[in-house]
Symmetry: C2
Amino acid sequence: MMLTKKRKGIIFVLSSPSGGGKTTLCRALKKERFNVVFSVSATTRKPRPGEKNGRDYIFLDKDEFKRRLLRRNFLEWTDNFGDLYGTPKRFVMETVAKNRDIILAIDVKGAMRVKRILRGAVLIFVLPPSLGLLKRRLKARKTETKEAERRRLSIAEGELGCYKKYDYAIVNDEVTKTVARLKSIIIAERHRVNR
Amino acid sequence: MMLTKKRKGIIFVLSSPSGGGKTTLCRALKKERFNVVFSVSATTRKPRPGEKNGRDYIFLDKDEFKRRLLRRNFLEWTDNFGDLYGTPKRFVMETVAKNRDIILAIDVKGAMRVKRILRGAVLIFVLPPSLGLLKRRLKARKTETKEAERRRLSIAEGELGCYKKYDYAIVNDEVTKTVARLKSIIIAERHRVNR
């Protein structure tokens, strides 16, 4: 009765330092066919092995990215060591207008920008179980130079301190457990009164 | 790491208009052995069939209830058509001090008092699927006079409007589903950053 009031979908922002595990987490959640939509970021970086255009990222060259940027096509965008990443605005807005919830898996800076623009967004921080594990994950990735790896780790350490600006923080110790926590947060937010 | 900061248990207040189904809900949650403690209210009303002293309520006579009231033994108390109900303060405080979460299944007035005293308490409103069903549930109870039933229903209707003062509202359509929603809210709150 009083809950049928017309409302819009919820925007969930999932972020973690690089290597924190947000991509793995989203992949696991997608597999469960949980009722939520995923935003696909645009990026100028090269696809990694196994990544598919349109599913994992929208791969664009720099000129095309900049054209879209100038057309204000992105909700937020980030320059990560020269690689540009952006969240296509239209898809997010159309999804919530249809009263469907959407997950944006983006970096910490992007999350802070979304929070400023969209007050109702729910920010979830994914923490690696330890800094040691974060290091190992970044190393295992092996897609970058030693120097880039070092810089990325130092940024990651700084970003860990940002968790206080989030609404929720979950430790990514075991994917199954972390996915369950994430689902609980989504379900709980759907029942919040003040939104 | 940063999440190991010493924190206290969370107080969850579950309330609904009379007949809204909070008792059934708590019973179902208890059966699942979900990791949460339940507060047992003291009351001066007579036990209903099947109710056990110390498990469902702490049954007290009016004099004893008043003695405890004067000793400030209750976190909150309510006079419901002459029947007194109170939440034993000490048990709640000792539970949260041990970093365990506790559920208080109390009425709307009691919930509002707890909210004023304990800012960090999380209020969950349990809504009956419809007012018609609420009526039927109150009638099915058959433990009171027509007049008491009418007054109770009129109060219940008024209380339904209180849901806006709660943090969460869940519709009690099917016990299994409602218990799942309740568990999600508890798990989500355990991962909130600002508490």
